[in-house]
Symmetry: C2
Subunit: 308 residues, 2 copies
């Protein structure tokens, strides 16, 4: 970066989430000024993130988003904020639509008003249940797809240049989500038996550092382009394993067999057996193999206090 | 209809709108029992619609929709309710998403819970700015497309059989919308000069009686099919004219020239010059030519009191 140039500015949503918090550190490391727009409930966790220059408060009002974008004038908006629900209950529909459609639309409207045109958006590989076209795994994925339709309106009418990065499973340090690897780490620690599904479903686990590289890469690609557009890319580790294989690699890296019973549970409804194959983000590749990522994870985990 | 069979039941949203109110009369005429689910603001106009057996109140809560669907147990749901805005203001985004995405999603969730599977949905030809694929004319059309994404989730997971009828311009008696034909009728009455755009945009004007036939036809088609699906069809008059030509036909039918100045106004932003060409609803054709429709309209209008 030219040291005489002013630091570029990124506005980020979903800053308190797993990818968001890592992306903020990375952006800051690369010399960006970062602001977040977040619900008051996220404020405590954001306060721990030193690199955030400013946190704009969002309580659902478009005026808050308009003011944040107009004041901070980001070169790039990273839209990672969403409500993730693997399966929804009826009472959660309103929150799902507010978080995953309304908030993003308010953000695009604020960008239109402030003439900010570069958006990197987080999508999910679950927008395609089978390889190929749109077929949402769950209502969460359907709301993500719905948002992309609205995004296209702003691409066509407000000069927005956007990329949606469709993400598969992610992992890395400081992950508080109760996903596969967290279960394996727990099992490693406690030695207690773990009952799992038959484990033949294929997963694509991408390390969060690689995900952050992809988001930065997408921002640079967009900034090099003049025309409004919406492009959709898969951000895949390019390394695919069944859950059984992941467990075996984990055991190798940990140098310890785990007491796992495969087949103790059923697959969940609409379990994805073979993840989507989408067009890959051009010019970007994951660098951290699963083996290397697991090694780093176990090193990091051993330094953390025992989970309660 | 078999007189011994119980009358089939239709639940309708958007019952107080132009198409909705005509569809209720038609359904009733054809022997259906009709219930509406509507916001309290629509209650006064619904009270005037004799054929409505029951009006379920909707104030935004999913529980209201769930209860309505569970109690009425419709064979077919006609989803016509939407907030139409040709151009939006920022403050209207929340209402647009609530009316055009959230409400419909609540309806689908209620159908899932009650195992009601047949839905006829109203879309708009404006979901395609140019002929061909999705490119929304305005944010309204984008929210309609977004809803179809969510609909597909329920098709895939709840056995829903759905058709979306994409509608062009509509007209007919008792139309309170201030659209092209209303302006021409006013000009005919008052003789006051009317300044219009250059008028070279092509419009597809479908009579509301034909639209109602299309909705009934779609319901019957869906009921004859077992598999869950979402099909999208154009409901077009198959008669396309420029606005100038429409005005000329109007003058012929009215037997009076109108003081119109074409080119007095600019086209609006993203004016649709050539409407979408979509796959037509199989087995249905419009029966009312524009000339015949205008004749009926002028006959009806002459019997109405002068507009204030």
């Amino acid at each position: 970066m030219n040291p005489l140039a002013e630091a570029p500015r990124a506005l980020i949503t979903g800053a308190s989430g797993f990818i968001g918090s890592h992306l903020i550190e990375r952006l800051s490391f690369e010399g960006w000024q970062v602001a977040a727009i977040a619900r008051p409930a996220s404020a405590p966790s954001l306060a721990l993130l030193q690199p955030v220059a400013k946190v704009y408060r969002y309580t659902g009002q478009i005026a808050e988003v308009v003011e944040a974008v107009a004041e901070f004038k980001p070169q790039v908006v990273f839209h990672l904020g969403s409500l993730f629900l693997a399966q929804h209950d009826s009472f959660q529909i309103e929150s799902l639509i507010s978080s995953n459609i309304l908030f993003g639309t308010q953000l695009l409207e604020a960008m239109r008003l402030a003439k900010i045109t570069t958006l990197v958006n987080a999508g999910t590989a679950w927008q395609s249940f089978n390889s190929g076209g749109y077929n949402p795994v769950n209502l969460y994925a359907a709301t993500k797809q719905a948002f992309e339709d609205i995004l296209l309106y702003y691409v066509e009418t407000a000069g927005v240049r956007a990329m949606t990065l469709r993400i598969f499973d992610t992992y890395g340090p400081a992950d508080t989500r109760r996903k596969l690897l967290a279960l394996l780490v727990d099992t490693l620690r406690t030695g207690e038996p773990l009952g799992m599904s038959p484990g033949e479903q294929v997963v694509d686990l991408t390390h969060v550092d690689d995900i952050c590289s992809a988001f930065l890469h997408a921002a640079r690609l967009l900034q090099s382009k003049d025309e409004s557009r919406h492009e959709v890319y898969a951000v895949s580790s390019e390394e695919r394993h069944t859950v059984r294989e992941v467990a075996a690699i984990f055991e190798e890296v940990a140098k310890k067999p785990l007491p796992i019973t495969f087949g103790a549970r059923a697959y969940r409804d609409r379990e994805v057996m073979e993840p989507w194959q989408g067009t890959r983000l051009p010019g970007w590749h994951a660098k951290i193999s699963l083996r290397e990522g697991l090694r780093r994870l176990l090193l990091a985990e051993k330094t953390l206090p025992q989970r309660s």
